[in-house]
């Protein structure tokens, strides 16, 4: 039975979440191509260099926060309904959706005000050129912070709907193991609750009252630390849904089944434990933080490699099993037997391949002292366009080719465009990201409209600066084309008429090694949450206490316009 007929209410919810996500993707991609052409100097006619930062803020907020959060809310709603075989609690889920949408609109209006001359609204200039990290004391319109808070609170309530489903299912199935998809989703949400406390305190306790003038100053190091308490786990909030797809859907698309359910659970528990006490690795070169705390964060970060390395094994093993079921043979010959013309499959595989490259550049970022070489250079966005910009985004697009037909009941339209799309994205990202990494090694900074200076010129270490710029611009152009291809396929599918049998469904084969082989303790959320909290207290307790001890807003800065 098609998912939309089996769970019509949840399907409508997933469709609504996806529409917001795809609109955000389209606008964010448009800003992206303008930026790529602007900062490489190929074409600067769209915006002034001062307004570049408005688009940069919009690109980061719309893609890293809005596209991701809404897509994940949709994917998780499908995953919970599918694996627990029940509709999601409607009131909770829709409350979450409307809160998140209100927050998104508020933040988007505040950002776009910057393009329209920052008119005064409620006594504050309507602008938010503060980038998606919104470091104080740079001030945005209060609506931006209120919007950010609503998105976070909305995501909490979305999570509540998954817990309500789990509790209802549990009362009917007291002795059964939690189905894998729901296990992964609930583990991800527990990690999300723990980590979003940081940004919630930053925004609600400090930035909103400060931007309204209720408190005169905030401590920039404290608010920045609270941001990064959240800022690294958020990347796992993007990554874990991609892992859910790679573990639970990709093996089936490859023609096989998941290699090991127990190992998948171990991986998600490790993410719950280790995702948060690592934020100081974004502050390796911050003054005011003793070296010892940075070292603890570095050690935790390195161990966070473990779940991803285990995932690489399990996913490749599952896909190889699928290929052999399809008649694949040889050490590497089985790769030829995979369905590379299925965009859902090829997109996930290409995303996984790029994530491996992104993982290696992330090991450099995590290397506390070698990080000096690349901190805040173009290397860093080069890295995260491989992770959130491909591992997450390409997986999301790929799985939409498979999932959107099921939540609409309509066949995928423009299949040939869909088949080509993941490859266009892959080539575009390969060009853009390799050049960004190399530009970073040459010391070229990130987050700038014009990376050229009066006082000196950069010299490329590998390749020339002009060649890197060209690759970034061409890569950016291909990525924009790929985003448009994806959105065109989605729009046509959405507007098509229902008819005929779908070639996809949400029935899954059992894993080779099932839940019956995994220790029950893995499902003990209380235990893992408690251990996660202890690790956070060790990593964050002493430094936060030191920052608070000298006065909560001391040393303090008043709001400063951009």
């Amino acid at each position: 039975m098609v998912f939309v007929d089996e769970y019509p209410k949840t399907s409508k919810l997933v469709r609504s979440e996806f529409v917001v996500a795809f609109v955000a993707l389209g606008i964010g991609a448009l800003f992206g191509i303008v930026q790529a052409l602007h900062r490489t100097g190929l074409f600067r006619g769209f915006v002034s260099s001062a307004d570049y930062y408005t688009l940069l803020t919009g690109h980061g907020v719309l893609l890293a926060l809005v596209f991701t959060t809404f897509f994940i809310a949709g994917l998780f709603a499908w995953g919970v309904a599918n694996s627990l075989e029940r509709e999601l609690p409607q009131r909770t889920a829709w409350t979450a959706f409307w809160l998140m949408l209100t927050g998104t609109v508020l933040a988007a209006v505040a950002i776009l005000g910057g393009v329209f001359g920052a008119p005064s609204v409620f006594g504050h200039d309507l602008e938010a050129d503060v980038l998606f990290t919104f470091y104080a004391p740079m001030k945005a319109h209060p609506a931006f912070y209120v919007g950010a808070a609503l998105i976070i609170v909305g995501s909490w309530i979305a999570g509540l709907a998954y817990f309500q489903s789990l509790w209802a299912w549990r009362s009917e199935h007291p002795d059964e193991r939690i189905p894998l998809k729901t296990f992964m989703i609930v583990t991800t949400m527990l990690m999300w609750y723990i980590s979003t406390i940081g940004v919630a305190v930053e925004v609600v306790v400090f930035l909103i009252p400060w931007s309204l003038g209720l408190i005169s100053q905030v401590d920039p190091l404290l608010t920045r630390t609270l941001f990064w308490y959240f800022g690294h786990p958020v990347v796992y909030f993007w990554l874990m849904p991609a892992y859910l797809v790679w573990y639970t859907i990709l093996p089936k698309l490859a023609g096989g089944r998941l290699f090991s359910d127990p190992l998948a659970r171990v991986v998600f528990v490790l993410f719950l434990l280790l995702s948060t006490p690592v934020g100081f690795h974004h502050q390796y070169v911050d003054p005011g933080i003793p070296e010892g705390f940075k070292f603890i964060a570095m050690t935790n970060t390195m161990f966070l490699l473990l779940p991803s390395l285990l995932t690489a094994f399990t996913v490749v093993a599952s896909v190889e099993h699928g290929a052999r079921q399809r008649g694949g043979e040889g050490y590497f010959g089985w790769l030829r037997s995979l369905p590379w013309d299925d965009p859902a499959f090829s997109g996930c595989m290409l995303a996984g391949l790029m994530f491996a490259a992104g993982g290696f550049s992330g090991m450099i970022n995590a290397g506390m002292n070698i990080n000096y070489l690349i901190h805040n250079t173009l290397w860093v966005p080069g890295h995260f366009h491989l992770t959130v910009g491909t591992a997450f985004a390409l997986t999301a697009m790929a799985i939409s080719y498979w999932l959107v037909p099921q939540i609409t009941g309509k066949k995928l339209q423009r299949r040939s465009v869909a088949i080509a799309q993941p490859y266009v994205w892959f080539v575009g990202m390969a060009l853009m990201s390799n050049a960004m990494h190399r530009a970073g090694l040459a010391g070229i900074p990130r987050r700038t409209a014009e990376p050229t200076y009066d006082e000196f010129a950069f010299e490329g270490l590998v390749g020339t600066v002009a060649e890197m710029r060209l690759q970034i611009a061409i890569g950016g152009l291909l990525l924009f084309v790929a985003a448009v291809m994806f959105l065109a396929v989605m729009a046509e599918t959405w507007l098509a008429h229902r008819g005929g049998r779908l070639s996809v469904n949400s029935d899954f084969p059992a894993p080779l090694s099932g839940a019956e082989h995994s220790p029950r303790i893995l499902d003990n959320y209380k235990l893992w949450t408690a251990i996660a909290l202890v690790l956070i207290v060790i990593a964050y307790g002493p430094p936060l206490a030191a920052m608070l001890a000298d006065g909560i807003t001391v040393p303090g800065s008043p709001p400063i316009p951009v």
């Binding site: 930062y53 740079m138 070169v285």
Partner: protein, 175 residues
Amino acid sequence: MQVHNFEKVWLGAALLLIVGFIATISYGTVGAGVAMVDDSGGQIDPQAVQSGETGTTFDDPGIVKENESHYVVYVVAQQFQFVPGSGDNPIRVPANTLVTFKVTSADVLHGFAITETNINTMVIPGQVAEVTARFDETGTYGLVCHEYCGAGHHTMGGSVEVVPESQYNATEVTN
């Protein structure tokens, strides 16, 4: 719990890689002496930096000679320049001599990176970033603000001129 033999080997190799990374970084810290930017620079009132009333060298930033082999460079980063460092006011320091940079902000977050070197720190209002280095090679190095600091961020650069020890004129030192 069943774990496939291949998977056990993979797990062992992964753990070895992780421990190896931590070991090399520890060596970099303890053996090679790569110090991290930390809290050694202390705190400062950012609003006093803005008004020039800190009662410290940051009120008139520049180069202080500690002794023959150690100079301290005080730099104030502000929207959108380094003082000293930007425009026709480059930071001039001698080669083969210990140079400590003390950098703080008069307004928002900034970055302070010297190209082709490991000198790279955040500049956070309220904190003094402290970095000590020795330049082996003479020449002009680029100075970059690498954290977004506002509408003119892309204009915030500068330069560091490293001159031979013998040619370094102590009268250039401002304090």
